[in-house]
């Protein structure tokens, strides 16, 4: 080995040098995270304690924004409605899971041509929410020639106003959300199903267990961690949902689809109330943080379980 090569071999091992290089490798990520994650997070806490309407400067007001959101006569009902709407929207998650699990179990029968079905189910998931929202805006068109209304009319019902009806707008978004999110859930469920050893099913079949019993005694309990993971991720994504509200309903009619994320957007980018919007962001952060902790715990237990 030449002296030069030995020298190079040495620096590979020197500890101080290795630490320095490692931080140089991390540096690009650290800069981005510091600027666009950590600083904004702490700044949100600070900004939530100020009265700050752009383009004016912020002034410190303590907990006033939180008072507005939680106790104000006008503010509190609006804010609580946005939280209620978000969790209402999240009701689509268990529905979605039921349908997805049923389809995943069928796909797992190892029938021929299954991958073709899987492709079809998965298409909505990869299509952008904006494009999908425009398609469904047309499907939900309130006139007689709207697709859903024309079907209702054919079946002898009267047409509905769908997205323009305060009682129907959210269920309409939930229905579209199920169609949009099914493919993702199916893929996750399929992976979970395929990790269950087939010997268990063979043993159960020898013992005379029918298909129904096999599902409830083997599949369901062993799929538990997957199911829980899909549930929590689904709720988190529901709380973050924004695009479909912006494209299809703009939070209406009468605020029926103003979810917490949409409310945050309105405060910040329609009213330019940055302080109040930051307070909403902090509440959203706490809710998402709790849900993510639960999810990490479950993912942890899933690894442990395997």
């Amino acid at each position: 080995m030449t002296a030069l090569a030995r020298q190079r071999g040495n620096w590979w091992h020197r500890w101080g040098e290795e630490t320095l290089s490692a931080y140089l490798f991390l540096l690009p990520s650290i800069v981005i995270f510091a600027t666009f994650v950590f600083f904004p997070l702490f700044f949100s806490f600070y900004a939530s304690l100020t009265h700050w309407n752009l383009p004016f400067k912020p002034s410190f007001t303590g907990l006033e924004n939180y008072h507005y959101l939680f106790t104000d006569e006008i503010g509190a009902p609006e804010f609580f409605r946005s939280i209620r709407n978000s969790f209402y929207y999240a009701l689509g998650v268990p529905l979605n899971m039921g349908i997805s699990l049923a389809i995943a179990v069928l796909l797992n029968q190892r029938l021929r041509g299954v991958s073709l079905f899987r492709t079809a189910y998965f298409l909505p998931t990869i299509t952008s929410t904006a494009a999908i929202s425009v398609i469904w805006l047309w499907i939900y068109h309130p006139a007689d020639y709207g697709l859903l209304n024309s079907i209702l009319l054919k079946l002898g019902f009267s047409p509905l106003r769908w997205l323009r009806d305060p009682h129907l707008a959210m269920p309409a978004l939930i229905l579209m959300g199920i169609w949009h999110g099914m493919g993702y859930n199916i893929v996750i469920f399929l992976a979970g199903l395929q990790s269950i050893p087939t010997t268990l099913y063979e043993a159960a079949e020898i013992d005379g267990a029918g298909g129904w019993a096999r599902f409830w005694r083997i599949t369901w309990p062993l799929l538990g961690p997957t199911t829980f993971y899909v549930l929590v991720i689904g709720i988190i994504n529901s709380l973050k949902a924004f695009t479909q509200m912006h494209v299809m309903t703009e939070g209406g009619p009468l605020g029926a689809t103003t979810t917490i994320t949409y409310y945050l957007y309105q405060q910040a980018f329609e009213n330019f109330a940055m302080g109040r919007a930051s307070a909403v962001a902090c509440v959203l952060f706490v809710i998402l943080f709790i849900l993510t902790l639960i999810q990490f715990k479950v993912v942890g237990s899933r690894i442990h379980y395997e």
Binding site: A5, S44, Y121, L123, T127, T129, A130, I135, A191, L293
Partner: protein, 281 residues
Amino acid sequence: MLRSKRARKTVFAIFWYIVLGITAVAVMLPYIWMLSTSLKGSDEVFAYPPNWIPRTWRFQNYVEAWNAAPFGRYFLNSAVVALAVTIGQLITCSLAAFAFARMEFKGKDVMFALFLSTTMISTQVTLVPSYLVLKTLRWLDTYQALIVPFLANAFGVFMMRQYFMTLPRELEDAAKLDGCGRLRFLWQVLLPLSKPIVASQALFAFMGNWNSYLWPLIVTTSEHMRTLQIGLRYFVSQEGGTQWGIFMAATVFVSVPIVLFYLFVQKSFVEGIATTGLKGA
């Protein structure tokens, strides 16, 4: 006995195919409706009862949609941003993943925990301050605003680190003997051995960025900086909401390229989701 069991199995299989087939058609219907409407003239769009197959095929809708808004520019913007984010993320993620997987340094555990903690903080929560940062930098309505905030990705770092850790330690020894520096080792040895994870990371980054909505909505103000998704939304809302044949034509050319792309790469995409639980959108 055996024959009846086999017969039962066949009956069941046929039944399941029918169930799966009906759901698959139900899933495809909105796409078919989109395609069908995109070829209709306004007389047919507003006809009741609606036809699934247009009587006259009006391809002119596509031309009119394309010319009614700067869709070429939107495509360019989306492509530039998604490609830049994808390449940038691959660079930052592989560098950080290399440090975490293959190097020993002070504060490694703390840094790793810090990286992972960023996955608990969503864009929605940091929206307002991130916007203000860009405003201070005078980056609003530029490509930087659409690209730079997304140049780091902790999930990507984590997945690549996991993969790097499975590669044999002896690789380094050989590289050391050859006097090969760390960067060259990462670039010429480790990354070529990690093609599957690099491919799925690239795919997630590209799709996620191509389909993103909230961020480009708030940081772009002028028409020529809009991405495809934002452009589509403004196109549909500004035309007064009646030109459905043309709207659907626009939706077709916004959504079909990514669908075709998916059909080519679906295997690695679906496998990536199954193993990581991540998805682009």
